[in-house]
């Protein structure tokens, strides 16, 4: 069984230390790890689900723009990162598990290995700060 590149492993170890939701995907967008705060967002436990194919986990979120209109997947930071391997950041809303609109900020970045290869991507969710 081939192990992940150490850049992926170290990102997981970092995510494991953080109090903000972190999602780590492979280059195809399959969810290969999410930390405990992300479990609350997904309503699932990583220990229970293990890795999740992109088709499965991407439908959990119902992203809306700030006007409340549904967002196309290609507008999401992580999807853009997976597409062109650049970092992105955007404010939008998701429907929480309780059915409420929840404003969030999402940051995504590509994991470019020491060898210069694109090996995965990370999405971090932040609470939007009230101005």
């Amino acid at each position: 069984m081939p192990a992940y590149e150490i850049e992926i492993i170290l990102n997981r170890q970092l995510a494991d230390c953080l109090s903000i939701p972190v999602f780590i995907t492979d280059t195809d967008g399959n969810l290969i790890f999410y930390n405990e705060p992300a479990e609350e967002v997904l309503g699932k436990r990583f220990e229970d689900t293990g890795e999740m194919p992109v088709e499965e986990w991407s439908t959990v979120f119902k992203p809306l723009d700030n006007d409340g209109n549904p967002m196309a997947p290609e507008e999401l930071p992580l999807v853009k990162t997976l597409s062109d391997q650049y970092p992105y950041h955007r404010n939008f809303q998701i429907i929480s598990l309780k059915g409420k609109k929840q404003p969030i900020s999402a940051t995504s970045y590509p994991i470019i290995s020491r060898s210069g290869n694109f090996v995965g991507a990370v999405a971090i969710f932040w609470k939007q700060k009230l101005k």
Binding site: I6, I9, R12, Q13, D16, C17, S113, R114, G116
Partner: protein
């Protein structure tokens, strides 16, 4: 009757960080990291710590020598300038080492092998010298197939899996696979170095610290003896040699560490010892 040629492994230096000579370290040795793997006249040298000096004269029949560096911390290259084949015009020496995203391998080794730290420039050594950069690579050297992979240790660092027919020697002297808030993730896909060590006949692995020493040295790139044992267990290595002995650990202390470890583990392990030899056939 035809005699079968054997792959032979020898350890020339198993001390971590800095050479330590003296009566307290006489048994396991004070030279820093170096091992050799020989098959017929084909010689691989793993790391260029101070142990490499004695290795240099041990295989006069080998015209080509390949030195595989795990990384360029001083205890892994300190002996290079005293490796006699580098100064022999009849020898062909190939140095393999981890690629960096910024400087070439030649440039990085030359920072040590140049004045004021060393009198001879790397480019002036008389042997036929070639440098090769590796990353997550598989390549052949003579009768050996080599796999290298980046592993968790500060700076560009690889471990090596040396294969010949069905026999495997894995060399990971500096490694901190348990770096993180909850230690090692006990799933092979998430273990740094797993591919290198899986099912190895002999695994040489970092076990520098006791579990009491490790927490205050977390992030320095080394393992506790318990984490080294866990790594050996996860990778199903057949026999493991604990190495990179801390310079402050005497022979007696190392044996106490091992005895204590064995109380709670049944993996096949021993302390790496300078002069240790094994035949894989």
């Amino acid at each position: 009757m035809e005699t079968k040629i054997k792959m032979k492994v020898k350890l020339w230096g198993v001390r971590g960080s800095i050479p330590t000579s003296g009566p307290d370290t006489e048994k396991y040795g004070g030279n820093t990291s170096c091992a050799s793997v020989v098959y017929d006249d084909h010689l691989l040298v793993l790391d260029g710590g101070t142990g490499i000096r004695q290795c240099g004269g041990a295989y006069p029949a080998s015209k080509r020598i390949d030195i595989l560096l795990t990384h360029l911390h001083l205890d892994h290259i300190q002996g290079l300038g005293f490796f006699s084949p580098l100064f022999d015009p009849s020898k062909e020496v190939h140095i393999w080492g981890p690629a960096s995203s910024s400087q070439s391998l030649f440039s990085r080794i030359s920072r040590y092998l140049s004045p004021p730290l060393f009198p001879v420039l790397l480019r002036d050594v008389p042997c036929k010298l070639e440098l090769h950069e590796v990353s997550n690579s598989v390549f052949d050297i003579g009768p050996f197939r080599i796999q290298s992979s980046y592993i968790i240790h500060p700076g560009p660092t690889v471990g090596y899996r040396v294969m010949r027919e069905n026999f495997v020697f894995t060399y990971i002297p500096d490694h901190e696979p348990a770096l993180g808030s909850h230690g090692m993730i006990q799933n092979p896909k998430w273990v740094s170095g797993y591919d290198l060590a899986e099912g190895a006949d002999i695994l040489l692995h970092d076990a520098q610290y006791t579990k009491e020493e490790y927490p205050i040295r977390r992030g320095w790139g080394h393992s506790s003896i318990e984490d080294a044992g866990l790594f050996a267990s996860i990778t199903s290595a057949k026999h493991t040699l604990f190495a990179h002995h801390d310079p402050s650990h005497s022979d007696a202390f190392l044996e106490e560490m091992l005895a204590s470890f064995k109380l709670s583990s049944d993996v096949s392990v021993a302390l790496a010892m300078e002069g240790f030899e094994a035949e894989l056939a």
